[in-house]
Assembly symmetry: C2
Homo-oligomer: 441 residues x 2
């Protein structure tokens, strides 16, 4: 049988990694797919540069600057979109679908924001849109959620799904660095971009979480409803105190089925140092999924990089090659649930989310200050799980000391109300630093 | 659309778990599968007992003692074999296939021993045989290997794939118990069978490993070539010494692509305490897979129990429901590779396997004994990585002490030859205890 022909849009890290992996393992991939998979065309802004980089490896691949020509080429069976962003990428993906082509993409932003439109278009044309590489790089988490755990009523997903921030947090903890220093180190090593906003502010993680949430709970993609808080304002002090209390701080993406809706949130989170998730260090990713039948499962691996991401892209190419002749009604639905069976369960605003809390504040070391604080918490219905105050040795020249309070699970809005009152106390000399704690049970 | 009808053979732990999960989550499962999945018939040796247990939940399900009647029932689309063993189960599975039915099974022994015959029969009839539940319970590791990692040349798999032995080893280490005491505790808690041979001697793990090896490397199932060593002769002393040296001992199933063949082996193994795999405690399972593109990935969860295993069985039922109308040439191949593309790469005998080694022996505490031992190792081309001998305080009344030697990687047959010579030394007063060490790199 003729190889299936792939048109590659973009040739950056993921595009070139896909080319390399597909070429290197072509024999083994063909033995698995039952048919050769061949990159026939590449479209990039600067073809000369790609041709020079590929040298003889280019072989018979057509490299050009006309993206539409690839998407319109009748001989191309699968379009692999590796451009990124939500502008040109969206246009080309929709055009490829309109042309009846199957699409493979690693573009989480595109799917989190325009997924509903894209999947509807794909359904109309009976084509597959595969996107394993969009979440957690080489870890086959989309497949696990969409096919491996279909027996379960999913209860929650909690994931370390951004390697840059996990690397920074690992460095802050292990080497006692502050955020800016750890970020600079990550940038020097290529783990963080020159403009690190997307990663450190949690946007990238929220894109990925939005996709997982839709697949887990059978709801439409609702990136605009996600609560997003990054790590750029995280203080090294809190990492230290958290460790003293038996916790590690991770940037977690959490989506959970709560009583009145679905939680969808990315923020720095304290988790017990004993959890497997807490041991995920450096640029690695891991996703914990809790289902009612299977209990807790965890998926771990490299979440970024040329070849780990290409591993997922090529797996999708194999999936499409294996299954594209199946009638569209009998394939795996894009978002795990049949499109007519999505639920309108709302995404909860952060105020309505329940969590444990870590509160740090600076107080004048005078009689009655703790009593006042604990009374305000009690008045708001918040019970205290633990409190940390290293008495005299921590009292500074101004007679001030840090107090750290760990609360039991409560509503976010209750905590915010209590914090406002605590900050009004004359004996409380700082704002209250608030971090969320997840028991993951 | 009418629900797809399932005939359940056997109603033990997994069968009843499957019934419960399918019933409890039927709405959500239907939204995913696009069609209801209904257990229509159950065949068991004692139908009255099952009917009594189900009570009103039995509803319209036909429960009978005639296994063939279920397998021959024209209205049944999928036969779920939950009997276990390789006798009746094999007959019924082959008969179901001959009748053109799709099959879902959790039976690792059946597939590891008769898989080649069963998959050939399924291919002839164009039916699916799904077996996610056969390996690592609820962890979707078969899907990860067969579909999620298809881009990769797999380098190795190392798995904790037997919960009973992992529970026993965790108890031995944490509570300092000997094997017999830890086994009795596991039996009291239902983590081990009255006759624990299959689990503690590594046979169950070897069945699962055989299946993963075939899928990872594109070779036929070759259970009879697996090297199998259980934990029943493991000494608590070695767990302690290993810990002193920074290792944990786990019963690992390891299959690796080596230079001249494929390693396929189950044995107690020392791994660095820093590895994520080392932190997998109690009855949990985890599988680490290393691919050339993706690097290391790890999959963790419950490897046994009614609902975790049912999670995998029901996922297979959903897979079959989604994909059974696809033409058989364009489905996922049973063993990941196309059947005509299997490789004849041999399974290596254990003598030809390379590994690091932990050697413990008891010696007379006289001058020159260590020099003699290290010379014999050097003569065999074996280099020493570390040595543990807690001098005077460990010398007993007979003037004897324990010596532990950690070697660099070498061939098993070289180590065995060196051990024979070491045991011949007059100053060596015990046999040499040998355990393998895996760097997992």
């Amino acid at each position: 049988m003729e190889p299936i022909k792939v048109g590659l849009l973009g040739f950056g890290t993921v595009g070139s990694g896909t080319f390399t992996v597909l070429r290197r393992n072509q024999e083994e991939i063909k033995r698995r797919a039952g048919r050769g998979i061949e990159i026939a065309r590449i479209a990039v802004r600067n073809p000369a540069k790609v041709l020079a980089a590929l040298g003889e490896a280019a072989g018979s691949v057509t490299v050009g600057a006309d993206f539409n020509a690839v998407v319109d080429d009748a001989s191309i069976g699968i379009v692999a979109e590796m451009i990124g962003g939500t502008g040109l990428a969206r246009e080309l993906v929709l055009r490829a679908i309109a042309n009846g082509k199957h699409v493979v993409t690693a573009n989480k932003a595109l799917l989190a924001v325009h997924g509903t439109e894209i999947f509807a278009a794909a359904r109309d044309k009976g084509v597959m849109v595969a996107f394993e590489a969009a979440v957690a790089g080489g870890i086959p988490i989309i497949k696990a959620l969409r096919e491996g755990l279909t027996a379960n009523r999913i209860q929650y997903i909690a994931g370390i799904i951004n390697g840059t921030t996990n690397y920074i947090l690992s460095e802050m903890r292990e080497r006692g660095l502050d955020f800016a220093t750890a970020l600079a180190a990550a940038q020097a090593l290529g783990y963080a971009e020159a403009d690190p906003t997307f990663d450190v502010e949690g946007i990238d993680a929220a894109h990925k979480l939005t996709i997982m949430s839709a697949i887990a709970f059978g709801v439409p993609m609702q990136f605009d409803r996600a609560y997003i808080e990054g790590i750029s304002r995280l203080d090294a002090t809190d990492i230290k105190y958290a460790e003293d209390l038996g916790y590690r701080i991770k940037l977690l993406g959490i989506t959970r089925r709560a009583e009145h809706g679905i939680e969808l949130r990315v923020h720095p989170t304290l988790i017990s140092a004993k959890r497997l998730l807490a041991s995920v260090e450096g640029a690695m990713n891991a996703v914990e999924v809790h289902g009612d039948a299977v209990g807790a499962t965890l998926y771990y691996g490299k979440g970024a990089g040329a070849e780990p991401t290409a591993s997922a892209v090529v797996a999708d190419l194999v999936d499409v090659t294996r299954l594209h002749t199946a009638d569209p009604e009998h394939r795996v639905p894009h978002l795990a649930f049949q499109p007519q069976s999505l639920s309108d369960t709302p995404i909860l605003p952060i105020d309505e989310v329940r969590s444990g809390y870590y509160l740090r504040l600076r107080v004048a070391d005078v009689t009655g200050v703790l009593a006042a604080i604990t009374r305000l918490l009690a008045d708001a219905g918040i019970s205290i799980d633990a409190m940390l105050q290293k008495e005299s040795e921590q009292v500074d020249a101004n007679g001030q000391t840090d107090v750290v309070i760990i609360t039991h699970e409560t509503l976010e809005k209750n905590v915010n109300a209590a914090i406002a009152r605590i900050e009004d106390l004359a004996t409380v000399v700082s704002n209250v630093t608030k971090l969320r704690i997840e028991a993951l049970d």
